[in-house]
Amino acid sequence: MTLLTPTTPVRPAGRRVLSAGRFGGTLSPRGVAVGLAGIAATIAVTVVSIGHGSFTIAPGDVVGTLLGGGTAAQQLVILDLRLPRILVALMVGAALAVSGALTQTFARNPLASPDVLGVTNGASLGAVALIVLGGSAATGVPLAALAGGLVTAAAVYLLAWRRGVDGYRLVLIGIGVGEVVSGGVSWFLIRAEIVDAARATVWLNGSVAGADWVQVRPLALALTVLLPLAVATAFTLQALQFGDDVARSLGVRLQLAQLAVVLTAVALAAAAVAAAGPIEFVAFVVPQIALRLCGGSRPPLVVSAILGALLVSAADLVARTVLPSRELPVGLVTAIVGAPYLLWLLIRTNRRTT
């Protein structure tokens, strides 16, 4: 039972229902327009970002090189140095945004980011512990982050399990566990030598600097599997918005559906944090911006993915170029770019609704 009759309030006017067997979702003209505009902007940012740097390349040459042309020097700079970095930025942004959209819908709370599932804090503890205890092991940091994130999220889920998982309980327990873990991070930072504390602080701010093809492949694989999974849960998400009991009565197998949503959100966030550190703000702000641009009652998944890729790639471009001498961590810039935009949207919608 998936197709809802047109008289239900679930489907606002002007939305087309798409359904394939058990899975269904809706398309709104506004959402399509926002999505296409987002894709265009993302392509523009990507081309500018690839061309920009100590070795400047014209946009035409960038496109030519990407399509297989270009000189040997251009191929080296673009394909070996700049392309992996921008790809990681795009994918991390999309992963975090979709993870945030899933979490916010699942918890029925706009303040719920993947942090409340324990992923981000757990990953931070894994990475910071390695930096402080292990010293120089740069290659191990992503793995330590991945392990920390997944283990913490699993602990949250198990602790929240009592004859099934209630979304509200999961979120509160996630906050409690996250706090224990971030207390651990603080403790490591205080115990650390100042050199290690500074290094850990840099990692904690999140960065895609120095990304190469080694990071691109696992991230691409994760997204190829997880993004379709996320979209497949769209109907479930729509039902979950109304609360657990209504979702059950709409024919959702609640525990299974919740586990699928939480697993997808956790895996997406863990993949992103392992690749680039905790770029925390993206998961919160992008779904909220997408929701306000598209209308509707919950953050749209596909548009969130597009805008997430746009935000992180644009933030990375700013982070690379704003200071002549050094790079800013991209996590700082996402907040400095994204927060004012959300504040502006809030002010505007406030005015409009009165």
Binding site: T201, L328, T354
Partner: protein, 344 residues
């Protein structure tokens, strides 16, 4: 109060808020006694009583109690009351169980201004206090201004979203300042964990008036919060003046959380969990919830501070870390134990 009752589960207990309140006052008294007697040197209640009422200037106990433990204990009670009440107010005004007193941008604003203070070369805690206060005030004013778009005043959702966005923005500025300056980071990383140690009596005296004023406003705000909890339209129909209720609430939160953050650094997690603990004892009525949250906050903060003094003797473990290590498991157990959590 929404509770889900399923077969095989006990019905929720009847709340007796009056008894809870009396029990909590006793618990605060107990925590105060323990906080005065436990430390690097354990003192008997008789020695403490002697030091407080009839001090012998030559005795070591006198110096320990009057110079070190009394100011610290007073500050712990004040900050605990403040953060507990501020957390209950914040969750009430945003109707969001994930809200904490820092959500108005208070802790992010305070941190930002403290870093500026450090970089300007302001030394010592009593110097940072005013920077922290100024930052808390400016940040929360900005959040409130953004959230106040329309005639109805700020809605719970816009307050929460604007607060989180503003906090993230200010935290980023703070991090950007620290990135370029290891010396400031070295000072700041100890302030930002949150602690009661090393604060002399002056600090408690500086923030006490703000906290007391905030507590009065919080209690005044409680009946209005009960009405606002039914939704803005219903509250309006009941004759509630929404905007003035929100202004009083936000003012109280700024006074309480701003003063506590200024004195002890950001101990925000306390304000997030305490209302949940108190709500499980009192139910959703804010007239009981706010005083009980305040008292629970004082008990938890003093207990965490006392534990932090003894686990790593002779060194101390920062209160913020102890709270995470001790408060969070307690909170998790509470959430797990309750068949039907009180929903907001």
């Amino acid at each position: 109060m929404v509770t889900t009752l399923r077969a095989g589960r006990p019905a929720p207990v009847a709340h007796r808020p009056g008894r809870t309140l009396i029990g909590l006052v006793a618990a605060v008294a107990m925590a105060v006694v323990l906080s005065l007697s436990i430390g690097a040197q354990t003192l008997s209640p008789a020695e403490i009583w002697h030091a407080l009422t009839d001090p012998d200037p030559a005795a070591q106990a006198t110096a320990i109690v009057r110079e070190l433990r009394l100011p610290r204990t007073v500050l712990g009670v004040l900050a605990g009351l403040a953060l507990g009440a501020a957390g209950a107010l914040m969750q009430g005004h945003t109707r969001n169980p994930l809200a904490d007193p820092g959500l108005l941008g208070i802790s992010a604003g305070a941190s930002f201004c403290v870093v500026i203070g450090i970089q300007l070369g302001v030394g010592g805690l009593s110097g940072y206090i005013w920077f922290a206060f100024a930052g808390a005030l400016l940040a929360s004013l900005a959040v409130f201004a953004v959230a106040t778009g329309g005639r109805g005043g700020p809605t719970p959702v816009t307050l929460a979203l604007a607060g989180l966005a503003m906090s993230a923005l200010l935290s980023s500025f703070t991090q950007a300042l620290l990135l370029s300056d290891d010396a400031s980071l070295n000072v700041f990383r100890f302030w930002v964990v949150g602690s009661l140690s090393g604060r002399d009596a002056r600090v408690a005296a500086q923030v006490a008036p703000f906290i007391l004023a905030g507590l009065v406003l919080a209690l005044v705000n409680a009946p209005a919060l009960n009405a606002l909890g039914l939704g803005d339209d219903v509250a309006r129909a009941l004759g509630q003046r929404i905007l003035s209720a929100r202004v009083i609430g936000v003012t109280a939160i700024v006074l309480l959380a701003g003063a506590a953050t200024a004195a002890c650094g950001p101990i925000i997690f306390l304000g997030l969990i305490v209302p949940h603990v108190a709500r499980s004892m009192t139910g959703p009525d804010h007239r009981w919830l706010i005083p009980c949250s305040a008292l629970t906050g004082a008990v938890l903060l003093l207990a965490a501070d006392t534990v932090g003094r003894v686990v790593l003797r002779p060194a101390e473990l920062q209160t913020g870390i102890v709270l995470a290590a001790v408060g969070a498991p307690f909170f998790i157990a509470l959430v797990r134990r309750r068949a039907g959590t009180v929903k907001l």
